[in-house]
Subunit: 315 residues, 2 copies
């Protein structure tokens, strides 16, 4: 089990990823969505893909690859691909007929900046580029078997039993009484599935055994749900300027959220339990798991109180 | 070079595909978009995927696989995947902010039947399912190298330098004077790229050599362009009932089309030249190319006059 010292080491080891994103920003910048003809579609893709964001998914993917003994560079194309898919899901979710968002990452949403038709097409292009990117950019040091398995994992996380299922259930739940179980279905699919695929694919690319893959899958499910619970909490506690997107939308649209069903304190306690479960899965790995501990905690704390920090040092 | 007799044989050999689609309808029916939770998204996906259509792409994919010596069953997952992507492109193209179509394959368009948000999500799900389907359903008899190559080829055909580029250029051309060169750019990207990937992937899966792949690529480019030229001709010559979609839309929206730039006769002559070029590439293959000859001709003739039939028997 990792000690507090190891965790502190990891915290500083992990900082470069979150600070200047050296490992991810450059590869993303040089993906095939460099400015080309037709310019407008490429500008729209780059606008959202390179808008910053926390890059939590790519960082998780690289950390997972290293944890199982792979060199992180092997997983860079997959990490970029997952960020493209995440970006596509934000672009499409923000559309007028979906969540009708005006702000994202502190800037006008893609359809506000480029028009609805371009936003839809930019999402489509990012989704297909993601698969193409894994297939063409993964180095020969990774066997094609692993590449095919990663593509299958990501495809399943995005499709009608994954991210799309979550968004569909979310839309259908609006204006209805939603149970905690239904809310969990939405978040597991809308957020956790892609995070799970991200971590699992990092591990597959890095050459993980089946047992390792399954532990990391469970870890990622907790972190994925945690991510959404914290997002729900932030929506009711922070302003649009602080969030970089329209705040209070969930409340205004009477959307089901964890704070609504559990109260703010209940939601915060649930988040703490998820961090603990995630940590339990990581306890079976060696000190290389430290960045993943750190990330679970980072997600739990990103803009809210320091309440999770004491927990973190207890691991 | 194939003789007239061989071609006639092929014509009857090919008929079953076009008539009852045995090779494609069943695999499509049993793809992962069986009715599951959430039901609405799966019903929307099936509504468009199983709406009939000519299944030209999957048939081309299987024929190309057989032509290079592969068993057609090897290419069935790829053939289904291409049909999913084609279906997704129709669903998204029909959206109100794009072509705003009401009818498709004789039925209300997806967004008319299920709502705009479901139509967008059904498209997204079909696109990711396509890649997942190739990755998970292709039999072990096909090497993972070939699977990865097919995924890369299809990804590139759909993305911002393929289908999406064509749709973007198409949207941007509305209300503007478009040259013949610009029109060709639109159609090569909007239609021919995916057809090219379809044929090329069939060949890759079937184990084609590089020379065979390149000849089939050229064949498919001609057929892809041919497809669009004929579509443009039909838009001005047929009624909505005959087409199964809204007719005269291109004319009403003052869209650039081949008949508009070349006149109907000019467009028909161009179609005939494309059939001839396609046939030239096939002349380097043996009698197994006959279905591909037949298909080029079938596309040229589908609802219009019999003028191409004499050409066909001359091959």
């Amino acid at each position: 089990m990792a000690t507090a010292t190891q965790v502190t080491d990891a915290s500083s080891a992990f900082q470069p990823f979150l600070a200047d994103e050296e490992s991810i920003a450059k590869p993303l910048e040089t993906t095939q969505c460099a400015v080309a003809v037709p310019e407008k579609i490429h500008r729209a893709m780059r606008y959202s893909l390179l808008a910053g964001g926390k890059r939590v998914r790519p960082v998780l993917c690289l950390a997972s690859c290293e944890l199982v003994g792979g060199d992180e560079s092997l997983a860079i194309p997959t990490a970029c691909a997952v960020e493209m898919i995440h970006t596509m899901s934000l672009i499409h979710d923000d559309l007028p007929c979906m969540d009708n968002g005006d702000l994202r990452r502190g800037k006008p949403t893609n359809h506000k900046a480029f028009g609805e038709e371009t936003a839809i097409l930019a999402g489509d292009a990012l989704l297909s580029l993601a698969f193409e990117h894994i297939a063409t950019k993964t180095t020969k040091a990774v066997s094609p078997e692993r590449v095919v398995r990663a593509i299958a994992e990501i495809g399943s996380a995005v499709g009608s039993l994954g991210l799309v299922a979550g968004q569909m259930a979310d839309i259908q739940s609006e204006g209805k009484e939603v149970t905690l179980r239904e809310l969990e279905y939405i978040h597991v699919h809308k957020t956790a599935k892609l995070l799970e695929a991200t971590v699992v694919c990092g591990a597959i690319i890095g050459g993980a055994g089946e047992g390792e893959v399954e532990r990391l899958r469970k870890y990622a499910r907790c972190v994925g749900l945690l991510f959404q619970v914290v997002d729900d909490i932030l929506d009711v506690t922070k302003s649009s300027v602080e969030l970089g997107k329209t705040a209070g939308k969930d409340l205004a649209s009477d959307k089901a959220t964890y704070p609504k069903l559990m109260g703010i304190e209940g939601a915060k306690n649930f988040a703490a339990r998820l961090v603990a479960q995630a940590a339990e899965e990581l306890a079976h790995f060696d000190a290389r798991a430290a960045p993943l501990y750190y990330l679970a905690n980072y997600i739990a704390n990103r803009h809210i109180e320091e309440q999770f920090l004491p927990f973190f040092t207890k691991i």
